[in-house]
Every structure is written in structure tokens, then in C-alpha cells.
């Protein structure tokens, strides 16, 4: 007696959260059954292994079908109770973009971090800033081996990044809002995706060995600051001329701003200005800094580093290396002198503020836009 066919279809689709988790993690049916047996479910429920096998198969089939429908997710075929929807953003997933005005906009649910669009830190760290193209997909095998995340799960996460990227790439307006509305993700998750999309778009290098100590959270934090301050959207003005419509307001850095950053070079090129700046900072910080002498000795190097990073940002190549440069030029020197974080904060505050007292320097607003963001980023990046 062998079972040829075995299905269960409910009018509302029942989702077992544990099985869902196992499926998301990319386990095969056999492995999932073994894991469920180990969880003691048989003893709890008095079920047999055969029942568990049938149940797991059934859930996997459902998830697989739902995944296929993900791309035109109208909640047509599977009615899922709203209480579960709050748990699984996936089931609502994509709603149709504005092309379909006949469909009333669905209200976004306060969605739970942990559904289909959730991702593993270890995985995202591997692909962050890389181009989301097919070439990278071939590397998924390596990532899977390296991180211990199943290949299936890697695929899903990668495809999610790509899908979100593709949808919001063409859209204007707030990146986070766009993601949240079109994928009905939680606020937190939408912010993370915004960071991922932003990094992928600008191709920031994050894989270098010296950047390995940084977490996804560090980068996401920086991304958020940069989106808020350095993009076109940050200026708050909708581009009026039709040409600039090609720019994504939140995804691309403000080119004009990057161009202007060259003006900051005077801070290190003009020796008088540099000395004056140094003396202002040193006067203010004397006695307040544990590492004062080291700071005094290194001031010119640090300042040169920070200003040169700004001046170079007109080249795409240098934009990509932004984080490498920041770590090399600022984080590492300070760390080798054992600056405590509080001293770094004091220094950066004073370093930014003192510029306002430099009479010969005319780009105060530009400096603030640059340094305000950079200060936040550096403080976040400064750890072991």
C-alpha cells in the first residue's frame, strides 16, 4: 500500500510557523521531518511519523505554490486569515503597482520580522554592495558553503533583494516608503531593504578584509544617514527639469553635492587654514582628551584623510571605496593609538564645529552636510 496522492486544502490556508521556518531555511522534506521529530512533536501530539511526513509534505507544497504566486500576489487563491498575515509579509507580498488603479490599495500591516523577506545577517554581509546580477548568483554556492546557510535559502534571500531592487529602482519618492508600500514590510525590515538597495545601487565595497569587523547593522546605519542627507531626495526638492527624472531620488547620491565637495580641499591645501583649524581644535580639547598628544600629532593626517575622501567622491571608483577609505584614513589610525570612543566623539564634534570659526572658509553649509553625516558614520564604524 503506497500513497499516490495526499493533499489537504483548506478554505483558509493554514500555516504552521515551525514548518514555515524550516522551509525558509531551505531544509528538504526529509530533513524537516527529522528536525520536527527531534522537537518532540510526536510525543506532544501522539501523532505517527507517517502523519508528520504527510503534514510536512503538504506544507512544503503549499509554500512552494505560494512562492510561485508571489509575483502576482493577489490574495486570490489562498485566503489567509489577517492574524497570520501580520506574521507573514510574504503572503501579501507584492501588490500590483499603480498600473492597476482598479485595485484599492491595501492597508499595510504591521508586519513581523521573520517572514519570507527576512534574511540572514551572515548572508547579507556577503552580498552587500555587490551587483545583484546573475554573475553573483553563481557565487551563491560559495556563500552557502561559507556561511552554512542552505543554498535554497540563499537563493530566496538573493532573489528577494533583486526583486525589491527591480521594483523600487524605477520609482520615485522615499525609498523606505516605496519598499514598505509595495512589499508591505515592517518599518524595520523596509529600512534594512532600503540599505541593501542603496548599497547595491552605489556598489559600496564591503567585502575587503579590513571591513570584515563591520556588521550589516553598521552599514545599514550609515546607509540611512547617507540616504537622508546625501541624496537628491534629501535636498527635498523635486527635480524640475525632465532630464533629472532619470535619477532616483533616494538611491543615487546628489551629483552636484559630490561635485561641490571638491571645494573642501582648501581646508588641507591651504596651510594657514589647516594650522588655524588645528589650533582651534587643540585649544578647545586641551585637558579634555585622554589621547590629546596623539591627536595633536596626528591632526593633519586625519584631517587630510577626511577632506581627501570628500574631494575624491566625484569618481565612481572612489565612491565605491568610501568605507575602505574611511577605515584606512581614520578608524585605523585612531584605533592604533587606542582612542576611546568618547574621545573620538569629542574630537569629531570639535573638528566639525571649529570650521565655523575659520574666517577664510566660505563653504560652511557644504561642510555641515558632509561632516554631519560622516561624523555619524565614523562613530558607528569606530569599534573593534
Amino acid at each position: 500500500m503506497t500513497s499516490e496522492l495526499d493533499i489537504f486544502v483548506g478554505n483558509t490556508t493554514l500555516i504552521d510557523e515551525d514548518v514555515y521556518r524550516l522551509w525558509l531555511d531551505g531544509y528538504s522534506v526529509t530533513d524537516a521531518v527529522a528536525l520536527r521529530v527531534r522537537s518532540g512533536i510526536l510525543e506532544q501530539t501522539g501523532a505517527t511519523a507517517a502523519v508528520l511526513q504527510s503534514d510536512t509534505m503538504d506544507h512544503y507544497r503549499t509554500f512552494h505554490m505560494l512562492e510561485r504566486l508571489l509575483h502576482l500576489l493577489h490574495q486570490l487563491i489562498f485566503q489567509i486569515p489577517p492574524s497570520r498575515l501580520t506574521v507573514y509579509p510574504f503572503w501579501m507580498g507584492l501588490t500590483q503597482p499603480s498600473e492597476s488603479p482598479a485595485r484599492p490599495r491595501q492597508t499595510p500591516f504591521p508586519l513581523f520580522y521573520g517572514g519570507y523577506y527576512a534574511f540572514d545577517e551572515a548572508f547579507v554581509r556577503e552580498v552587500l554592495g555587490k551587483k545583484l546580477s546573475k554573475g553573483t548568483k553563481k557565487d551563491l554556492d560559495d556563500i552557502s558553503t561559507k556561511t552554512g546557510i542552505t543554498l535554497k535559502s540563499c537563493r530566496r534571500q538573493f532573489d528577494n533583494f533583486k526583486r525589491v531592487f527591480k521594483v523600487v529602482e524605477e520609482m520615485r519618492g522615499s525609498l523606505v516608503d516605496n519598499i514598505q508600500q509595495h512589499f508591505l514590510l515592517s518599518d524595520r525590515l523596509a529600512r534594512d531593504y532600503a540599505a541593501i538597495v542603496f548599497f547595491a545601487n552605489n556598489r559600496f565595497e564591503t567585502g575587503k578584509k579590513k571591513l570584515q569587523y563591520l556588521s550589516f547593522g553598521d552599514f545599514a546605519f550609515c546607509a540611512e544617514l547617507m540616504i537622508q542627507n546625501w541624496t537628491l531626495g534629501a535636498v527635498g526638492e523635486a527635480p524640475t527639469d525632465p532630464d533629472s527624472q532619470m535619477d532616483d531620488m533616494d538611491m543615487d547620491l546628489d551629483k552636484e553635492f559630490l561635485q561641490d565637495l571638491k571645494e573642501l580641499k582648501v581646508l588641507v591645501a591651504d596651510k594657514d587654514l589647516l594650522d588655524l583649524h588645528k589650533s582651534l581644535v587643540c585649544t578647545a580639547l586641551r585637558g579634555k582628551l585622554g589621547v590629546f598628544s596623539e591627536m595633536e600629532a596626528n591632526f593633519k593626517n586625519l584631517s587630510r584623510g577626511l577632506v581627501n575622501v570628500a574631494a575624491k567622491l566625484t569618481h565612481n571608483k572612489d565612491v565605491r571605496d568610501l568605507f575602505v577609505d574611511l577605515v584606512e584614513k581614520f578608524v585605523e589610525p585612531c584605533r592604533s593609538d587606542h582612542w576611546p570612543l568618547s574621545d573620538v566623539r569629542f574630537f569629531l564634534n570639535q573638528y566639525s564645529a571649529s570650521v565655523h570659526s575659520l574666517d577664510g572658509f566660505r563653504h560652511q553649509a557644504l561642510w555641515d552636510r558632509y561632516m554631519g553625516t560622516l561624523r555619524g558614520c565614523l562613530l558607528r564604524l569606530y569599534h573593534d
Binding site: T2, L5, D6, T45, H64, L72
Partner: protein, 991 residues
């Protein structure tokens, strides 16, 4: 030209990509009704086209309106080659043809293709203007309401229950026509879907005519079935119960003058005496002569059993004269009827007087294609024969009517088993005819028959019993006689006193049969049938005793025929009726009493059985009050103390009296173990595991002893197919496989639904089919309902009072509710409600022109989910409106079975799609639930070698609007708002 059908194609969404190059689609729509076709413009390059078409108007006979489905085809325009079909939508416009149902069909319908499944959605608006041409009512039967629900629908009152209506239509199956060799599978499937849709429409119209002839206005318990007879054709047949219904929530509540419903009905056009011409021919594409294309050259009628209590006894003549009087009355009410049958399973209070027992009849027929289309109507004759038999069985039980009546078939190649079953009963004539009979008799009736136990009292004459039965005085009233066991096909009457809870009881049986052809095959089958019936009955009885219960409700016995075997599956809900005597235990008797070890074994088994009975009594909370013998009163003579069931039929005659059973209870059941077969039977009795704690199951509407349902319901369908491995199968191995299949299926259900505990699986409906030689397919549809455990414990004490109370409040609330609804819908309709009411009352036609009056239903539900349930009600909610029946037939075929996830993936997706389409149609009618939902057919065929599979599904149910009880107050108190979600054109199917 009595009707104008108007259709508007609004938009589409999520269409599939038809042009690979552009990743887009140039879609347009063809709208077809009858022979008229309209087209929309082509909407270029979009997957979400906005056609916003004009109103396409079809001027048609109302007869066609009833028969024809509206056919909408979405196509992709192609300049150079033929246009590609994306998919179709069939819309049954019947719900628009009667006044109280839907006024407009509007919503998003899934676009369905028989090869690809659902491919996007289309937004359609459909309206009908009917003209007041009274003469035309004779050819069509517009206005007759249909309900699948097998009880009087919740917001109606039965004025008269007229009785049985039946009809069948026959046609050639397109799948077997010569043209099928040359056309594509898609074309063939679509021809089939369309034909069945047409035939259903025609059938419904014809039944409607019969109802009008009987002066009724509705069909309740409407059951329509398809017989796919293969080469010999396609039969669509339906049965139902004609009624005159009066809407409780009708605006009559405003006007005291309308209190006499029968009078009101006479003014209604629907009951205008239909004059001649009902049977007039018409230009239907279907041959109207029923059965004309089929013939019979072989027929076997199978002797059938009459199930009732077992045992024997005889006694006095109490109640004689009264009973005679009653019988006379009922007889006069029923005698004009050819078949006094009722498809209802639940009845208005007082309708059911006595229940005799289950009656059933089966007959084996040979199907053959007929070459002469003028052949007499053999199908009708076959069913008439069977119904006659049922009628005579009922008569033998002293009953004049059969309730809970149903018919079914099982077909394998050219052999067909026709089955009919029901419950013989004596009915109260009050409901069967016009108000004329009301008078002294009725009053006497009510005085004399305490409704709580009346239905258990035997209807037949004690001195002249049709079969040996063991009678005692009723344990409730102590006046009338009752049998010791009662089997019925109906639902448990609400006023019945039940002790403890009920449970699902199944008897499962397989019998091998030699492969044979034609007559030899039919003879072999008909020879096997009586034994199967007997064994199924024995199993049921044993299992019932094992549960410590004494009555079965909702009994349904299905016998399925296959190439080399017969399967029997009986399902019922066992309960302990307080009016019937306590069941005795089960005694085991060995055949060789001298063997010591054998004795020991027997006593061990006996102990196990006794333990199980005790455990079950505890589990189902069966603690009947102890009654001493004296109270029971006059001893009833008992010529035989026990009945005996013998395993092997050949030995039955000679050993009856010699068994020593002195140690048993007086009316114990004896199981004799005389061979290994019997041993296994006993074992199998004990292998049925009870559901895990927190779960109950029944196949009736409600579970006795549980009243406090929460609103959490989950309807589901589960299908399993197993392949029998060995070639040299024995009956025992087969039985075990089948038993395991059913038990494992139940176990899986319990596991799947464990998050709903405490819960009850209600209306569990098993269907067995044998699609191929070694395949057994079991399909289960049921609904799981969560209940509140704490309250459940209290209610068991006084179930009667509760249910009575509930019944009365039910009516009150139903009367109150429409007022609230009206006030809510005020802003959206042009007249003040009072005026609207007057208008309708004065109108000779409550139909057509004044349709606009009724505001769209305001479901006000926060969740746009469409509920589906096989029950006739929704727990925690009030049904405020019936929108019409849903009767849909789908075919799905694939030539890429592996790619679609194998047979499981294929069928899973298809069933999910069927659910989606049912929901979409309900939502488009403005409803938010389907009640009395049933999957009548699920025919699955596969050919894995060719990577192909095909499946046919037929579902039906009643589309309704319900309002949560908790929302009721909110609705009435709230300021009328405009959130009539379900009625707006952009209403979501599911949000």
C-alpha cells in the same frame, strides 16, 4: 422577449504575459450569451487592461436566461495569427432571476483555463431587466428559489412543504464524441463544461416548473448530480423538496395586514395556477426527452435490508386509535403524491412525528448506448423503480413518508449501481397542505405527542411488526413503545434529549470480485451486494454498542463498484438517546469451549471489549440516570432475549439456541468467534482509535452536547489515493488497507487542525471511488469549528431547554434584524423604506422592475474573506439573505504533470482554484459566505507515463450574506456609513 441581460466589461488584472517579446498582452473580451456575441476593443500592451466597455445588451427569453450561462472569453489579439484564448468565465445568472436574491452580479472573476488554471481576473458587471409578461411564466420558472440547504433556510418560514421533485436530462458526453479525436483537449473540456452548465440550467428550470405546478415557490434540499456514463452518455439529475416559503425578514414585519402568509402567497404571481403548456417543447440544444439516448438491456434489483432496531418483542395496543387517526390524516395528505419523499434532514418543530428506521434500495443496471433516440426514458424508469421500492419499504414500517432522502450512483465501465436511501417517518400533516386542516386534530396532536421523545416512538403496529424488534416503553414518557436501537439518515432533531456527546461511526468494507463482462459482472455484483449490506450493518451495530450508544443519525452508506472489487463505506453519528434503552454490551463466544487456552483468550478479548465500552462511556460523557426495572413498568414479553450476529452466513440456521450466555447482560450482543475472519473483525473493532482529546467528530450538522461554537471555522477538502501493492489480494488485506487509509486520513486531519483545539469536525463527508484497478481514492470534506470548552461543560446538563430556547430566540432575532439592516442601508436607496414596502406589496410581480428597491447588502464585515462551510449555518453569525445557489463544474487537465508538482501538486492547485472561483462568484453576488457547500464530485484520472492528468470537480452551495452577532449591535447603533464593501463594483474577493 421578456428579459434584457446587460453586461459590462470593466477591467482585467494580473493577466498572463501572452507576448514573449514585449512581456505584455493585447487583450480583448468576447461576451457570449446564447448565439449572440459582443466584443470589446483591444486594450494594447497591458497586463491590467481597462476596457470600460459599453453595456452589451442581450434581449432574450427568460427560458434562455435560466438555461444558458453567460460566457466571457478573454483573448490576446494577434495581428498575424489566430487570437490566443487566455481563459473563460462562466457566470450563472440565475440568482438575478428572483426577487429576494442578488440584484447585480459585479466583481472580479478569476479567468479560468482548463489547461493552465487561473490566469488573472476580470471585472464584470451583469444586470437583468425582466418584463412583467405573466404569460411567459409558464415556459420558464423564473422566480422559484433554490436552496442546497437540507433544512428550511434560516430566514424563511415554511408555509407548506409540498414534497418531492425530481428530473433528469441526458446528453451525449462531448468527451466521447467522434469530434473529440480531432479537437484539442481544451476545446473538448470547454465543450463539456458548457454542456453541463447548460444541462444544469435546463434541469433547474424544469424542476422549477414542477414546483410551480405544485404551487410552491422554492426548492429546498436541492441535490444535483452528474453521472458520467462514458460512452453511453452524460446524465444530469436532481432531486429536491418543493416548498412554499415565506420570508421571515420580509417587510411584512412592517405591515400587520400581511400576517397571513398563505393569503399573501396567493396574490403572488408565482403561484398563479399554471395552465397547460408546462411541458411545451422549446429550442434547447439539449434533447428534452429524458433518457432518450440510453437504454437498458439488463437490470437486477437487489433485495434490500430495512434497518431499524434489532431484537424482538410484542406488546399492547396503546395509542392505537389515535395513531390510526393520525395515519389517516397524513395519508390523505400524502396519497396524491407519487413519492412522499423529502430531501430535508432537519425539520420545523412538530413536523416529524415518528421515525421508523432507515430504508434503502439498490439496483444494478447495465449501461448501453442507444442508437435509436426515440427509445423510452429508461433512466426515469430505473429511478421510478427504486423509488417505488423505497416507498414500499416505508409502508412496511408503518410510515407514509421518507425523510432525509437521497440518491446516488456508482459507475464502473458499463455497470451502474443505483442507490437510494432515506428514513421512513410519519409526518405531521399540518405542513403538508394548505392551512385548511388546522383545527382540533392538530391541537390533539400537540397535546398527545411530547416532542422530546415522540419521534423515537415506533410508527408501526406492535402486533404486526415488519421485522423482529425489541421494544420497550419509552424511557422518557413511559407511555409509548420504542425500539432498542434507532438508525436514521436525518440530522438529530433539535428537541431530542441526548445524553453525553456523539461521535462519528464508520463501517468500512471491501469485497473482491472477479473481473467480468456485462451480465455476468452485473450478476456477480448484485450477488455480493446483500452480503455487503449485511456486513456493513453488523459493523455499524457493533461499533455503536462499543461506543455505548443507541442511535445513529445522518447514516450514509456508499457502495462503490470497481473493476475487481466492491467497497462499502457507511458513516453516521452515534448518540445516546435518552428515550431509548441502555444498550447492552458485546459478548464474545468461542466455538470450542473445551480448549482452555482458547477460553482464556476469549475472556481476555471480552475484558478488552468491556474496558473499551467503559472508556468510551467516559469519553463521550454517557451517564444515563439509573432506572430501576420497576419504573419501566409492565414487563414486555421477550421470546428471545438476544439477537445474535453470526459471522458466516452459511452457518446461521442451526446454532442459534445453544449458546450459553447466562453471564451477560440481558440484551447483550453476541459475537461468535468461529474462524480467523471473525477474530479479525473483533480486532478491527478495537483498532478504531478515538480522536485525540479536544477533538470530536460527527457527520451531522451539529454535535450533540456542544452548543457554544466560536466563530472560528475552517472548511477543508482532503484527498488521498493509495495504490494496492500485491496482486493476490485477500479480502482481509483489502479491508485492512482500506481501514488504515481512512484511519490515517482522520489522524492527519486531527494533527493538521490541532491548533483549533478544542474543536469538532462537523459534517464529515467521506467519498470513496475506485479510479483504477489498484487505486482507492478517498475524498473528505468537513468543517472544523472551535468551541469554548468551559461553557461546553455546563450546557450538557440541559440540552433540551437550551435548544428550545435557542430556537425561539432565533426567530425573534430574525424578525428584528432586517429593521436594523434597512436603517443601515437607508442612504443608498432612493425610497424611504416604508414606501418601498408599500410598493412591493401592491406590485403583482415582486420581481424585475422593483428590483432596485433592495439596497445592496451591507455586510459590514471587517474581513473580506468569503467563508465556506458544509453546514447550513455559520456559528456566531446570522444569515440575513440568500443570494442563490452556486453550482459549478470545472475540468482541469495537464500535460505537464511533473512540472506542476506531480499528482498532489496538480490536484492541490486545482482544488485551491475551485475554492477561489466559488469565493469570487459569491463575492460578486454581494455575499460573504457559502453555506451547505458540498463537493459532489471529484473525479481524478492520471496517466503518469504520459505526464498527464485530468480532474473534474462539481461543487454546490448557497451563497449568503451573514452578519456577525457581535456586529449586529454595532450595525444598528452606528451612523450609516458608506462602507458597503461587498457591494461596490470594485469589491474585493478577499482582502
Amino acid at each position: 422577449m421578456p428579459g434584457k441581460l446587460k453586461v459590462k466589461i470593466v477591467a482585467g488584472r494580473h493577466l498572463p504575459v501572452m507576448d514573449r517579446a514585449s512581456d505584455l498582452t493585447d487583450a480583448f473580451v468576447e461576451v457570449k450569451f446564447g448565439n449572440t456575441t459582443f466584443k470589446t476593443d483591444v486594450y494594447l500592451k497591458s497586463l491590467n487592461p481597462q476596457w470600460n466597455s459599453e453595456w452589451f445588451k442581450f434581449e432574450v427569453d427568460d427560458e434562455d436566461l435560466q438555461d444558458e450561462p453567460l460566457q466571457i472569453t478573454v483573448l490576446d489579439h494577434d495581428t498575424y495569427s489566430a487570437n490566443d484564448a487566455i481563459g473563460k468565465v462562466y457566470i450563472d445568472i440565475d440568482p438575478l432571476l428572483y426577487s429576494e436574491a442578488a440584484t447585480v452580479i459585479s466583481g472580479w472573476f478569476p479567468i479560468y483555463d482548463t489547461i493552465h488554471g487561473i490566469r488573472g481576473e476580470i471585472n464584470v458587471v451583469v444586470k437583468v431587466d425582466l418584463f412583467n409578461d405573466l404569460n411567459r411564466f409558464r415556459q420558464s420558472s423564473c422566480g422559484v428559489k433554490f436552496f442546497c440547504t437540507t433544512s428550511i433556510p434560516k430566514c424563511y418560514r415554511a408555509v407548506i412543504i409540498h414534497g418531492f421533485v425530481e428530473e433528469l436530462v441526458v446528453n451525449e458526453d462531448p468527451e466521447y464524441q467522434w469530434i473529440d479525436r480531432i479537437r484539442t483537449p481544451r476545446a473538448s473540456n470547454e465543450a463539456r463544461q458548457r454542456l453541463i452548465s447548460l444541462m444544469s440550467g435546463e434541469l433547474q428550470r424544469k424542476i422549477g416548473l414542477k414546483v410551480l405546478e405544485m404551487r410552491g415557490n422554492a426548492v429546498v434540499g436541492y441535490l444535483q448530480c452528474f453521472d458520467l456514463e462514458g460512452e453511453s452518455g452524460l446524465v444530469v439529475r436532481a432531486i429536491g423538496t418543493a416548498c412554499t416559503l415565506d420570508k421571515l425578514s420580509s417587510p411584512a414585519a412592517f405591515l400587520p395586514a400581511c400576517n397571513s402568509p398563505s393569503k399573501e402567497m396567493k396574490e403572488s404571481p408565482l403561484v398563479h395556477p399554471p395552465s397547460h403548456g408546462c411541458r411545451s417543447t422549446h429550442n434547447s440544444p439539449i434533447h428534452t426527452a429524458t433518457g432518450s439516448r440510453l437504454t437498458q438491456n439488463f437490470s437486477v434489483s437487489v433485495p434490500t435490508l430495512i434497518y431499524t432496531g434489532m431484537g424482538s418483542g410484542s406488546a399492547g395496543k396503546e395509542g392505537g386509535p389515535f395513531k390510526a387517526l393520525l395515519r389517516q390524516q397524513t395519508q390523505s395528505a400524502l396519497e396524491q403524491r407519487e413519492f412522499p419523499f423529502f430531501t430535508l434532514t432537519a425539520f420545523p418543530p412538530g413536523f416529524l412525528v415518528h421515525v421508523g428506521g432507515v430504508v434503502s434500495a439498490r439496483s444494478v443496471k447495465l449501461l448501453d448506448r442507444i442508437h435509436n433516440p426515440d427509445e423510452p426514458e429508461t433512466r426515469d424508469a430505473w429511478w421510478a423503480e427504486i423509488r417505488q421500492e423505497i416507498k414500499s419499504h416505508a409502508k412496511a414500517l408503518g410510515c407514509h413518508a421518507v425523510v432525509g432522502y437521497s440518491e446516488s450512483t456508482s459507475i464502473c465501465e458499463e455497470v451502474c449501481i443505483l442507490s437510494a436511501s432515506g428514513t421512513a417517518a410519519v409526518l405531521n400533516p399540518r405542513f403538508l397542505q394548505d392551512g385548511t386542516v388546522e383545527g382540533c386534530l392538530e391541537q390533539r396532536l400537540e397535546e398527545n405527542l411530547p416532542t422530546r421523545c415522540g419521534f423515537c416512538h415506533i410508527p408501526y403496529d406492535e402486533l404486526n411488526m415488519p421485522f423482529p424488534a425489541h421494544l420497550t416503553y419509552c424511557y422518557n414518557c413511559r407511555k409509548q413503545k420504542v425500539p432498542d436501537v434507532l438508525f436514521t439518515t436525518i440530522d438529530l432533531p433539535t428537541d431530542a434529549t441526548v445524553i453525553g456527546k456523539g461521535c462519528l461511526i464508520q463501517a468500512r468494507l471491501c469485497r473482491l470480485k472477479k473481473k467480468a463482462q456485462a451480465e455476468a459482472n452485473a450478476t456477480a455484483i448484485s450477488n455480493l451486494l446483500p452480503f455487503m449490506e449485511y456486513e456493513v450493518h453488523t459493523q455499524l451495530m457493533n461499533k455503536l454498542k462499543l461506543k455505548g450508544m443507541n442511535a445513529l443519525f445522518g447514516l450514509r452508506i456508499q457502495i462503490t463498484v470497481g473493476e475487481n472489487m466492491l467497497m462499502g463505506l457507511a458513516s453516521a453519528t452515534g448518540v445516546y438517546l435518552a428515550a431509548l434503552p441502555t444498550p447492552g454490551g458485546i459478548q464474545i463466544a468461542g466455538k470450542t469451549p473445551n480448549d482452555g487456552s482458547y477460553e482464556q483468550h476469549i475472556s481476555h478479548m471480552q475484558k478488552k471489549i468491556n474496558d473499551t465500552i467503559a472508556k468510551n462511556k467516559e469519553l463521550y460523557e454517557i451517564n444515563p440516570p439509573e432506572i430501576s426495572e420497576e419504573i419501566i413498568g409492565s414487563p414486555i414479553p421477550e421470546p428471545r432475549q438476544r439477537s445474535r450476529l453470526l459471522r458466516s452466513q452459511s452457518e446461521s440456521s442451526d446454532e442459534v439456541t445453544e449458546l450459553d450466555l447466562s453471564h451477560g447482560k440481558k440484551d447483550a450482543f453476541v459475537l461468535e468467534i468461529d474462524d480467523t475472519d471473525a477474530m479479525e473483525d473483533v480486532h478491527s473493532l478495537l483498532t478504531d482509535v478515538p480522536p485525540p482529546s479536544g477533538f470530536y467528530s460527527c457527520n451531522t450538522e451539529i454535535m450533540p452536547g456542544i452548543n457554544n461554537w466560536t466563530s472560528e471555522i475552517q472548511m477543508f477538502t482532503s484527498v488521498r489515493v493509495i495504490r494496492l501493492s500485491s496482486l493476490n489480494l485477500t479480502n482481509q488485506a483489502l479491508n485492512k488497507n482500506f481501514n488504515d487509509l481512512c484511519e490515517n486520513l482522520l489522524k492527519s486531519l486531527y494533527f493538521k487542525l490541532r491548533s483549533m483545539i478544542p474543536c469538532c469536525l462537523c459534517h464529515v463527508n467521506f467519498t470513496v471511488s475506485l479510479p483504477e484497478d489498484e487505486l482507492i481514492q478517498v475524498t473528505v470534506t468537513a468543517v472544523a469549528i472551535t468551541f469554548d470548552k468551559n461553557q461546553a461543560l455546563q450546557t450538557t446538563k440541559t440540552p433540551v431547554e437550551k435548544s428550545l430556547q435557542r430556537a425561539s430566540t432565533d426567530n425573534e432575532e430574525l424578525l428584528q434584524f432586517p429593521l436594523e439592516l434597512c436603517s443601515d442601508s437607508l442612504p443608498s436607496h432612493p425610497f424611504p423604506p416604508a414606501k418601498a414596502v408599500t410598493v412591493e406589496k401592491a406590485s403583482p410581480v415582486g420581481d424585475g422592475n422593483f428590483r432596485n428597491r433592495s439596497a445592496p447588502p451591507c455586510a459590514n464585515s471587517t474581513v473580506g474573506v468569503v467563508k465556506m462551510t458544509p453546514l447550513s449555518f455559520i456559528p456566531g453569525a446570522k444569515i440575513t439573505k440568500y443570494l442563490g445557489i452556486i453550482n459549478m463544474f470545472f475540468i482541469r487537465e495537464t500535460t505537464s504533470l511533473r512540472e506542476e508538482g506531480g499528482v498532489s501538486g496538480f490536484l492541490h492547485a486545482f482544488i485551491a482554484e475551485v475554492f477561489a472561483m466559488v469565493r469570487a462568484h459569491v463575492a460578486a453576488l454581494g455575499g460573504n459566505a457559502v453555506v451547505s457547500y458540498i463537493m459532489k464530485q471529484c473525479v481524478f484520472m492520471e496517466n503518469p507515463n504520459k505526464n498527464q492528468a485530468q480532474c473534474l470537480i462539481n461543487v454546490s452551495g448557497d451563497a449568503v450574506v451573514f452578519v456577525r452577532e457581535s456586529d449586529l449591535e454595532v450595525v444598528s447603533s452606528q451612523q450609516p456609513t458608506t462602507n458597503c464593501q461587498s457591494s461596490c463594483t470594485e469589491g474585493e474577493v478577499t482582502t
